[in-house]
Protein backbone atom coordinates (compact mmCIF):
# COMPACT_ATOMS: atom_id res chain seq x y z
CA UNK A 1 0.00 0.00 0.00
CA UNK A 2 1.46 3.38 -0.90
CA UNK A 3 1.67 6.11 1.65
CA UNK A 4 0.60 9.71 1.42
CA UNK A 5 0.69 13.04 3.19
CA UNK A 6 -2.45 15.13 3.64
CA UNK A 7 -2.34 18.60 5.17
CA UNK A 8 -5.78 19.13 6.64
CA UNK A 9 -7.47 22.23 8.03
CA UNK A 10 -9.44 21.45 11.19
CA UNK A 11 -11.21 24.80 11.20
CA UNK A 12 -11.30 27.14 14.19
CA UNK A 13 -12.30 24.62 16.85
CA UNK A 14 -15.91 23.40 16.66
CA UNK A 15 -16.42 19.83 15.44
CA UNK A 16 -19.23 20.91 13.13
CA UNK A 17 -16.85 23.19 11.25
CA UNK A 18 -14.65 20.25 10.19
CA UNK A 19 -15.44 19.37 6.57
CA UNK A 20 -16.45 15.81 5.65
CA UNK A 21 -13.42 15.73 3.34
CA UNK A 22 -11.07 16.31 6.28
CA UNK A 23 -13.02 13.86 8.44
CA UNK A 24 -12.58 11.14 5.80
CA UNK A 25 -8.81 11.74 5.63
CA UNK A 26 -8.56 11.50 9.42
CA UNK A 27 -10.49 8.22 9.31
CA UNK A 28 -8.04 6.77 6.76
CA UNK A 29 -4.87 7.95 8.51
CA UNK A 30 -2.34 5.75 10.25
CA UNK A 31 -0.46 8.75 11.68
CA UNK A 32 -1.37 12.27 12.76
CA UNK A 33 1.34 14.91 12.99
CA UNK A 34 1.02 18.45 14.30
CA UNK A 35 1.38 21.12 16.91
CA UNK A 36 0.33 19.85 20.37
CA UNK A 37 -3.05 21.64 20.73
CA UNK A 38 -4.17 20.64 17.22
CA UNK A 39 -3.25 16.96 17.64
CA UNK A 40 -5.14 17.08 20.94
CA UNK A 41 -8.31 17.69 18.91
CA UNK A 42 -8.04 14.26 17.24
CA UNK A 43 -9.97 11.43 18.90
CA UNK A 44 -7.70 8.43 19.58
CA UNK A 45 -8.59 5.12 17.97
CA UNK A 46 -6.84 1.75 17.61
CA UNK A 47 -4.27 1.81 14.83
CA UNK A 48 -3.85 5.58 14.86
CA UNK A 49 -0.55 7.02 16.08
CA UNK A 50 -0.51 10.63 17.32
CA UNK A 51 2.74 12.61 16.98
CA UNK A 52 2.59 15.98 18.74
CA UNK A 53 5.35 18.51 18.48
CA UNK A 54 5.98 22.00 19.76
CA UNK A 55 5.68 25.27 17.91
CA UNK A 56 8.48 26.46 15.55
CA UNK A 57 9.55 22.97 14.46
CA UNK A 58 7.43 23.03 11.29
CA UNK A 59 10.19 21.80 8.96
CA UNK A 60 11.08 18.88 11.25
CA UNK A 61 7.41 17.96 11.39
CA UNK A 62 7.11 18.10 7.60
CA UNK A 63 10.23 15.95 7.17
CA UNK A 64 8.86 13.40 9.63
CA UNK A 65 5.56 13.25 7.72
CA UNK A 66 7.33 12.76 4.37
CA UNK A 67 9.56 10.03 5.82
CA UNK A 68 6.57 8.14 7.19
CA UNK A 69 4.73 8.42 3.86
CA UNK A 70 7.81 7.01 2.11
CA UNK A 71 7.47 3.98 4.40
CA UNK A 72 3.88 3.46 3.22
CA UNK A 73 2.07 5.21 6.07
CA UNK A 74 -0.94 7.48 5.60
CA UNK A 75 -0.08 10.71 7.36
CA UNK A 76 -2.32 13.69 8.13
CA UNK A 77 -0.60 16.89 9.18
CA UNK A 78 -3.25 18.80 11.11
CA UNK A 79 -3.51 22.58 11.08
CA UNK A 80 -5.97 24.83 12.82
CA UNK A 81 -8.16 26.80 10.43
CA UNK A 82 -7.02 26.43 6.82
CA UNK A 83 -3.65 24.75 6.17
CA UNK A 84 -2.69 27.31 3.50
CA UNK A 85 -3.18 30.39 5.70
CA UNK A 86 -0.15 30.90 7.97
CA UNK A 87 -0.08 27.18 8.67
CA UNK A 88 1.63 23.93 7.69
CA UNK A 89 1.14 23.75 3.89
CA UNK A 90 3.95 26.19 3.05
CA UNK A 91 6.29 24.49 5.51
CA UNK A 92 5.58 21.14 3.85
CA UNK A 93 6.46 22.47 0.39
CA UNK A 94 9.63 24.12 1.72
CA UNK A 95 10.61 20.66 2.94
CA UNK A 96 9.58 19.00 -0.35
CA UNK A 97 11.81 21.45 -2.19
CA UNK A 98 14.70 20.56 0.11
CA UNK A 99 14.17 16.78 -0.24
CA UNK A 100 14.45 15.56 -3.85
CA UNK A 101 13.27 12.09 -2.73
CA UNK A 102 9.97 13.67 -1.59
CA UNK A 103 9.01 14.73 -5.12
CA UNK A 104 7.20 11.43 -5.70
CA UNK A 105 5.14 11.52 -2.50
CA UNK A 106 1.38 11.73 -2.96
CA UNK A 107 0.33 14.99 -1.29
CA UNK A 108 -3.08 16.59 -0.87
CA UNK A 109 -3.97 19.88 0.81
CA UNK A 110 -7.50 19.93 2.26
CA UNK A 111 -8.95 23.39 2.93
CA UNK A 112 -10.61 24.37 6.20
CA UNK A 113 -12.58 27.23 7.72
CA UNK A 114 -9.93 29.83 8.46
CA UNK A 115 -10.12 31.86 11.69
CA UNK A 116 -10.81 35.23 10.05
CA UNK A 117 -13.91 33.93 8.28
CA UNK A 118 -15.28 32.23 11.40
CA UNK A 119 -14.69 35.46 13.33
CA UNK A 120 -16.23 37.61 10.61
CA UNK A 121 -19.33 35.40 10.54
CA UNK A 122 -19.74 35.79 14.29
CA UNK A 123 -19.99 39.58 14.17
CA UNK A 124 -21.70 39.98 10.78
CA UNK A 125 -19.79 40.69 7.58
CA UNK A 126 -16.80 42.95 8.35
CA UNK A 127 -14.78 41.39 5.49
CA UNK A 128 -17.65 41.89 3.03
CA UNK A 129 -15.50 43.96 0.71
CA UNK A 130 -11.85 43.73 -0.44
CA UNK A 131 -9.60 42.69 2.44
CA UNK A 132 -6.07 41.67 3.44
CA UNK A 133 -4.82 38.94 5.74
CA UNK A 134 -1.56 39.70 7.54
CA UNK A 135 0.46 37.56 9.94
CA UNK A 136 1.76 39.97 12.61
CA UNK A 137 4.44 37.59 13.87
CA UNK A 138 7.97 38.68 13.01
CA UNK A 139 9.30 35.19 13.60
CA UNK A 140 10.14 34.81 9.87
CA UNK A 141 10.01 38.37 8.55
CA UNK A 142 11.23 41.79 9.69
CA UNK A 143 8.72 43.94 11.54
CA UNK A 144 9.45 46.69 9.00
CA UNK A 145 7.72 44.51 6.40
CA UNK A 146 4.67 44.21 8.63
CA UNK A 147 4.61 48.00 8.91
CA UNK A 148 4.90 48.49 5.12
CA UNK A 149 2.04 46.09 4.53
CA UNK A 150 -0.15 47.69 7.17
CA UNK A 151 0.32 51.09 5.54
CA UNK A 152 -0.37 49.78 2.02
CA UNK A 153 -3.45 47.93 3.25
CA UNK A 154 -4.74 51.03 5.04
CA UNK A 155 -4.03 53.34 2.09
CA UNK A 156 -5.81 50.93 -0.24
CA UNK A 157 -8.78 51.10 2.17
CA UNK A 158 -8.79 47.34 2.57
CA UNK A 159 -10.50 45.69 5.52
CA UNK A 160 -7.85 43.66 7.36
CA UNK A 161 -7.48 40.46 9.32
CA UNK A 162 -4.48 39.89 11.58
CA UNK A 163 -3.25 36.45 12.61
CA UNK A 164 -0.86 35.89 15.55
CA UNK A 165 -1.30 39.47 16.76
CA UNK A 166 0.56 39.14 20.04
CA UNK A 167 2.64 36.66 21.99
CA UNK A 168 4.63 36.59 25.20
CA UNK A 169 7.83 36.77 23.15
CA UNK A 170 6.81 40.08 21.53
CA UNK A 171 4.33 41.90 23.76
CA UNK A 172 5.12 45.41 22.49
CA UNK A 173 4.71 45.11 18.73
CA UNK A 174 0.95 44.96 18.73
CA UNK A 175 0.88 48.35 20.50
CA UNK A 176 2.93 49.66 17.58
CA UNK A 177 0.46 48.08 15.12
CA UNK A 178 -2.42 49.87 16.82
CA UNK A 179 -0.49 53.17 16.63
CA UNK A 180 0.09 52.71 12.89
CA UNK A 181 -3.59 51.89 12.35
CA UNK A 182 -4.74 54.96 14.29
CA UNK A 183 -2.36 57.09 12.26
CA UNK A 184 -3.57 55.67 8.94
CA UNK A 185 -7.27 55.01 9.64
CA UNK A 186 -8.23 57.53 12.34
CA UNK A 187 -9.73 56.93 15.80
CA UNK A 188 -13.24 55.85 14.76
CA UNK A 189 -12.38 52.82 12.62
CA UNK A 190 -14.00 49.64 13.96
CA UNK A 191 -11.73 46.85 15.22
CA UNK A 192 -12.83 43.39 16.31
CA UNK A 193 -11.00 41.10 18.72
CA UNK A 194 -12.26 37.56 18.24
CA UNK A 195 -10.73 34.98 20.56
CA UNK A 196 -11.11 31.20 20.17
CA UNK A 197 -14.20 31.51 17.99
CA UNK A 198 -16.47 28.44 18.00
CA UNK A 199 -14.87 27.02 21.17
CA UNK A 200 -16.01 27.18 24.81
CA UNK A 201 -13.49 30.00 25.34
CA UNK A 202 -14.98 32.21 22.62
CA UNK A 203 -14.91 35.93 23.42
CA UNK A 204 -15.60 38.69 20.90
CA UNK A 205 -15.17 42.42 21.43
CA UNK A 206 -15.97 45.22 18.98
CA UNK A 207 -14.47 48.64 19.68
CA UNK A 208 -13.14 51.66 17.81
CA UNK A 209 -9.40 52.12 17.29
CA UNK A 210 -9.19 54.81 19.96
CA UNK A 211 -10.60 52.33 22.49
CA UNK A 212 -8.38 49.43 21.43
CA UNK A 213 -5.59 48.30 23.76
CA UNK A 214 -2.87 45.68 23.17
CA UNK A 215 -4.20 43.52 26.01
CA UNK A 216 -7.37 42.84 24.02
CA UNK A 217 -5.38 40.35 21.87
CA UNK A 218 -3.38 37.23 22.57
CA UNK A 219 -2.15 34.34 20.39
CA UNK A 220 -5.64 32.80 20.26
CA UNK A 221 -7.15 36.02 18.92
CA UNK A 222 -7.77 36.97 15.33
CA UNK A 223 -8.15 40.73 14.89
CA UNK A 224 -10.32 42.26 12.18
CA UNK A 225 -10.26 45.91 11.13
CA UNK A 226 -13.00 47.40 8.98
CA UNK A 227 -12.51 49.60 5.95
CA UNK A 228 -13.61 53.26 5.90
CA UNK A 229 -17.26 52.26 5.30
CA UNK A 230 -17.55 49.46 7.88
CA UNK A 231 -20.36 50.19 10.29
CA UNK A 232 -22.63 48.80 12.98
CA UNK A 233 -26.28 47.97 12.57
CA UNK A 234 -27.82 46.77 15.82
CA UNK A 235 -25.39 44.27 17.32
CA UNK A 236 -23.84 43.50 13.93
CA UNK A 237 -20.77 44.86 12.13
CA UNK A 238 -20.68 44.86 8.36
CA UNK A 239 -18.92 46.33 5.37
CA UNK A 240 -21.22 47.42 2.55
CA UNK A 241 -20.75 45.91 -0.88
CA UNK A 242 -20.42 49.26 -2.58
CA UNK A 243 -17.36 51.49 -2.28
CA UNK A 244 -15.99 54.78 -3.53
CA UNK A 245 -12.54 56.32 -3.84
CA UNK A 246 -13.05 58.45 -0.74
CA UNK A 247 -11.19 56.09 1.61
CA UNK A 248 -8.13 55.55 -0.59
CA UNK A 249 -4.74 57.27 -0.48
CA UNK A 250 -3.24 57.10 -3.99
Amino acid sequence: MSGWVVVAGLGPGAEDLVTPEVRAALDQATDIVGYIPYVARIAPRPGLRLHSSDNRVELDRARHALEMAAQGLRVVIVSSGDPGVFAMASALFEQVEASPEAAQTEIRILPGITAMLAAAARVGAPLGHDFCAINLSDNLKPFALVEHRLRHAARGDFAMAFYNPRSKARPHQFARVLDILREECGPDRLIIFARAVSTAQEAVQVVTLDQATPEMADMRTVVLVGNSATRRTGDWVYTPRGATLSGVTP
Copy 2:
Protein backbone atom coordinates in the same frame (compact mmCIF):
# COMPACT_ATOMS: atom_id res chain seq x y z
CA MET B 1 -42.32 28.80 16.48
CA SER B 2 -40.08 31.77 15.81
CA GLY B 3 -38.44 32.20 12.45
CA TRP B 4 -34.85 32.90 11.62
CA VAL B 5 -32.51 33.75 8.79
CA VAL B 6 -29.25 31.88 8.29
CA VAL B 7 -26.75 32.90 5.63
CA ALA B 8 -24.83 29.75 4.81
CA GLY B 9 -21.68 29.17 2.79
CA LEU B 10 -21.96 26.06 0.62
CA GLY B 11 -18.25 26.01 -0.23
CA PRO B 12 -16.89 25.89 -3.77
CA GLY B 13 -19.01 23.01 -5.07
CA ALA B 14 -18.13 19.57 -3.71
CA GLU B 15 -20.57 18.06 -1.22
CA ASP B 16 -17.74 17.00 1.09
CA LEU B 17 -16.69 20.63 1.48
CA VAL B 18 -20.04 21.60 3.04
CA THR B 19 -19.61 21.86 6.82
CA PRO B 20 -21.85 19.82 9.15
CA GLU B 21 -23.00 23.15 10.64
CA VAL B 22 -24.35 24.27 7.27
CA ARG B 23 -25.83 20.83 6.59
CA ALA B 24 -27.77 21.00 9.88
CA ALA B 25 -29.19 24.43 9.03
CA LEU B 26 -30.30 23.19 5.60
CA ASP B 27 -31.99 20.22 7.31
CA GLN B 28 -33.95 22.56 9.62
CA ALA B 29 -34.96 25.07 6.94
CA THR B 30 -38.46 25.60 5.60
CA ASP B 31 -37.24 27.93 2.83
CA ILE B 32 -34.08 28.27 0.77
CA VAL B 33 -33.32 31.58 -0.93
CA GLY B 34 -30.51 32.36 -3.34
CA TYR B 35 -28.99 32.85 -6.74
CA ILE B 36 -30.24 30.20 -9.21
CA PRO B 37 -27.09 28.02 -9.47
CA TYR B 38 -26.61 27.95 -5.69
CA VAL B 39 -30.23 26.97 -4.94
CA ALA B 40 -29.82 24.26 -7.59
CA ARG B 41 -27.26 22.61 -5.30
CA ILE B 42 -29.91 21.98 -2.60
CA ALA B 43 -31.60 18.56 -2.69
CA PRO B 44 -35.40 18.93 -2.71
CA ARG B 45 -37.37 17.35 0.13
CA PRO B 46 -40.99 17.51 1.30
CA GLY B 47 -41.70 20.69 3.27
CA LEU B 48 -38.78 22.64 1.81
CA ARG B 49 -39.56 25.52 -0.54
CA LEU B 50 -36.84 26.65 -2.95
CA HIS B 51 -36.80 30.32 -4.03
CA SER B 52 -34.29 31.00 -6.81
CA SER B 53 -33.56 34.48 -8.06
CA ASP B 54 -31.24 36.02 -10.61
CA ASN B 55 -27.99 37.83 -10.05
CA ARG B 56 -27.96 41.49 -8.91
CA VAL B 57 -31.19 41.30 -6.89
CA GLU B 58 -29.37 40.71 -3.59
CA LEU B 59 -31.34 43.30 -1.60
CA ASP B 60 -34.69 41.96 -2.81
CA ARG B 61 -33.59 38.49 -1.84
CA ALA B 62 -32.54 39.67 1.63
CA ARG B 63 -35.86 41.50 2.11
CA HIS B 64 -37.77 38.39 1.09
CA ALA B 65 -35.81 36.27 3.57
CA LEU B 66 -36.41 38.73 6.42
CA GLU B 67 -40.13 38.90 5.61
CA MET B 68 -40.46 35.13 5.67
CA ALA B 69 -38.57 34.91 8.99
CA ALA B 70 -40.98 37.49 10.45
CA GLN B 71 -43.77 35.09 9.51
CA GLY B 72 -42.13 32.32 11.53
CA LEU B 73 -40.31 30.56 8.69
CA ARG B 74 -36.79 29.17 8.92
CA VAL B 75 -34.90 30.63 6.00
CA VAL B 76 -31.45 29.76 4.70
CA ILE B 77 -29.89 32.17 2.23
CA VAL B 78 -27.34 30.10 0.34
CA SER B 79 -24.06 31.51 -0.93
CA SER B 80 -21.29 29.81 -2.81
CA GLY B 81 -18.02 29.69 -0.89
CA ASP B 82 -18.16 31.78 2.28
CA PRO B 83 -21.16 34.09 2.78
CA GLY B 84 -18.98 36.93 4.09
CA VAL B 85 -16.62 37.04 1.08
CA PHE B 86 -18.23 38.95 -1.81
CA ALA B 87 -21.51 37.19 -1.11
CA MET B 88 -24.89 37.57 0.60
CA ALA B 89 -23.98 38.45 4.21
CA SER B 90 -23.23 42.13 3.51
CA ALA B 91 -26.38 42.48 1.41
CA LEU B 92 -28.45 41.05 4.25
CA PHE B 93 -27.08 43.58 6.74
CA GLU B 94 -27.62 46.44 4.28
CA GLN B 95 -31.25 45.34 4.20
CA VAL B 96 -31.42 44.95 8.01
CA GLU B 97 -30.14 48.52 8.35
CA ALA B 98 -32.87 49.72 5.95
CA SER B 99 -35.65 47.78 7.74
CA PRO B 100 -36.05 48.79 11.41
CA GLU B 101 -38.54 45.94 11.88
CA ALA B 102 -35.78 43.46 10.97
CA ALA B 103 -33.68 44.39 14.00
CA GLN B 104 -35.36 41.67 16.09
CA THR B 105 -34.86 38.87 13.58
CA GLU B 106 -32.67 35.99 14.70
CA ILE B 107 -29.77 35.90 12.25
CA ARG B 108 -26.77 33.60 12.01
CA ILE B 109 -23.92 33.65 9.49
CA LEU B 110 -22.35 30.24 8.88
CA PRO B 111 -18.88 30.27 7.33
CA GLY B 112 -17.89 28.14 4.35
CA ILE B 113 -14.80 27.17 2.35
CA THR B 114 -14.17 30.21 0.19
CA ALA B 115 -13.06 29.76 -3.43
CA MET B 116 -9.56 31.22 -3.02
CA LEU B 117 -8.67 28.73 -0.28
CA ALA B 118 -10.03 25.76 -2.22
CA ALA B 119 -8.06 26.93 -5.26
CA ALA B 120 -4.91 27.54 -3.23
CA ALA B 121 -5.13 24.04 -1.73
CA ARG B 122 -5.36 22.52 -5.22
CA VAL B 123 -2.05 23.97 -6.40
CA GLY B 124 -0.14 23.95 -3.11
CA ALA B 125 0.12 26.99 -0.85
CA PRO B 126 0.29 30.15 -2.99
CA LEU B 127 -1.44 32.19 -0.24
CA GLY B 128 0.95 30.90 2.40
CA HIS B 129 2.06 34.41 3.33
CA ASP B 130 0.22 37.74 3.69
CA PHE B 131 -2.40 38.14 0.97
CA CYS B 132 -5.29 40.29 -0.30
CA ALA B 133 -8.69 39.32 -1.68
CA ILE B 134 -10.12 41.70 -4.29
CA ASN B 135 -13.43 41.59 -6.12
CA LEU B 136 -12.66 42.74 -9.67
CA SER B 137 -16.28 43.52 -10.53
CA ASP B 138 -17.00 47.22 -10.87
CA ASN B 139 -20.72 46.63 -10.42
CA LEU B 140 -20.70 48.48 -7.08
CA LYS B 141 -17.42 50.37 -7.13
CA PRO B 142 -15.43 52.44 -9.64
CA PHE B 143 -12.74 50.61 -11.57
CA ALA B 144 -10.30 53.30 -10.40
CA LEU B 145 -10.67 51.85 -6.89
CA VAL B 146 -9.81 48.39 -8.19
CA GLU B 147 -6.69 49.87 -9.77
CA HIS B 148 -5.64 51.67 -6.56
CA ARG B 149 -6.04 48.50 -4.57
CA LEU B 150 -4.12 46.41 -7.09
CA ARG B 151 -1.20 48.83 -6.93
CA HIS B 152 -1.19 48.97 -3.12
CA ALA B 153 -1.40 45.18 -2.93
CA ALA B 154 1.47 44.79 -5.39
CA ARG B 155 3.65 47.43 -3.70
CA GLY B 156 3.04 45.76 -0.33
CA ASP B 157 4.21 42.50 -1.97
CA PHE B 158 1.01 40.74 -0.98
CA ALA B 159 -0.08 37.56 -2.72
CA MET B 160 -3.53 38.23 -4.22
CA ALA B 161 -6.80 36.47 -4.92
CA PHE B 162 -9.30 37.91 -7.41
CA TYR B 163 -13.00 37.09 -7.37
CA ASN B 164 -15.31 37.78 -10.33
CA PRO B 165 -12.37 38.51 -12.63
CA ARG B 166 -14.28 38.73 -15.87
CA SER B 167 -17.83 38.71 -17.21
CA LYS B 168 -19.58 39.18 -20.52
CA ALA B 169 -20.65 42.65 -19.36
CA ARG B 170 -17.05 43.79 -18.87
CA PRO B 171 -14.72 41.71 -21.04
CA HIS B 172 -11.94 44.30 -21.31
CA GLN B 173 -11.19 45.20 -17.70
CA PHE B 174 -9.39 42.02 -16.86
CA ALA B 175 -6.91 42.75 -19.67
CA ARG B 176 -6.24 46.06 -17.91
CA VAL B 177 -5.78 44.23 -14.59
CA LEU B 178 -3.16 41.99 -16.18
CA ASP B 179 -1.38 45.06 -17.60
CA ILE B 180 -1.28 46.69 -14.15
CA LEU B 181 0.05 43.49 -12.60
CA ARG B 182 2.78 43.13 -15.23
CA GLU B 183 3.76 46.77 -14.64
CA GLU B 184 3.90 46.35 -10.86
CA CYS B 185 5.12 42.76 -10.49
CA GLY B 186 7.14 42.04 -13.65
CA PRO B 187 6.70 39.29 -16.26
CA ASP B 188 7.84 36.30 -14.19
CA ARG B 189 5.33 36.48 -11.35
CA LEU B 190 3.24 33.32 -11.07
CA ILE B 191 -0.52 33.55 -11.69
CA ILE B 192 -3.05 30.76 -11.22
CA PHE B 193 -6.40 30.44 -12.98
CA ALA B 194 -8.60 28.07 -11.00
CA ARG B 195 -12.01 27.39 -12.50
CA ALA B 196 -14.87 25.63 -10.71
CA VAL B 197 -12.56 23.98 -8.18
CA SER B 198 -13.94 20.78 -6.62
CA THR B 199 -16.60 20.35 -9.34
CA ALA B 200 -16.64 18.17 -12.46
CA GLN B 201 -15.70 21.27 -14.48
CA GLU B 202 -12.54 21.95 -12.49
CA ALA B 203 -9.66 23.31 -14.56
CA VAL B 204 -6.49 24.82 -13.12
CA GLN B 205 -3.73 26.57 -15.03
CA VAL B 206 -0.46 27.99 -13.64
CA VAL B 207 1.46 30.44 -15.84
CA THR B 208 3.67 33.51 -15.50
CA LEU B 209 2.23 36.99 -15.95
CA ASP B 210 3.80 37.35 -19.40
CA GLN B 211 1.94 34.21 -20.51
CA ALA B 212 -1.41 35.20 -18.97
CA THR B 213 -4.28 36.20 -21.26
CA PRO B 214 -7.73 37.54 -20.35
CA GLU B 215 -9.42 34.49 -21.89
CA MET B 216 -7.94 32.29 -19.17
CA ALA B 217 -10.58 33.67 -16.74
CA ASP B 218 -14.37 33.74 -16.67
CA MET B 219 -16.92 34.31 -13.89
CA ARG B 220 -16.39 30.81 -12.50
CA THR B 221 -12.64 31.40 -12.14
CA VAL B 222 -10.79 32.59 -9.07
CA VAL B 223 -7.39 34.03 -9.95
CA LEU B 224 -4.43 33.85 -7.58
CA VAL B 225 -1.21 35.83 -7.95
CA GLY B 226 1.88 34.97 -5.96
CA ASN B 227 4.10 37.40 -4.08
CA SER B 228 7.72 38.07 -5.12
CA ALA B 229 8.90 34.84 -3.46
CA THR B 230 6.19 32.47 -4.75
CA ARG B 231 7.75 29.57 -6.60
CA ARG B 232 7.21 26.14 -8.06
CA THR B 233 8.49 22.90 -6.64
CA GLY B 234 7.61 19.93 -8.85
CA ASP B 235 3.95 20.35 -9.81
CA TRP B 236 3.23 22.54 -6.79
CA VAL B 237 3.15 26.30 -6.28
CA TYR B 238 3.87 27.73 -2.86
CA THR B 239 4.81 30.90 -1.05
CA PRO B 240 7.51 30.46 1.59
CA ARG B 241 6.72 31.46 5.16
CA GLY B 242 9.70 33.76 5.45
CA ALA B 243 9.90 37.14 3.72
CA THR B 244 12.18 40.13 3.40
CA LEU B 245 11.75 43.75 2.43
CA SER B 246 13.13 43.13 -1.08
CA GLY B 247 9.72 42.84 -2.73
CA VAL B 248 8.15 45.93 -1.18
CA THR B 249 7.81 49.44 -2.62
CA PRO B 250 7.65 51.88 0.32
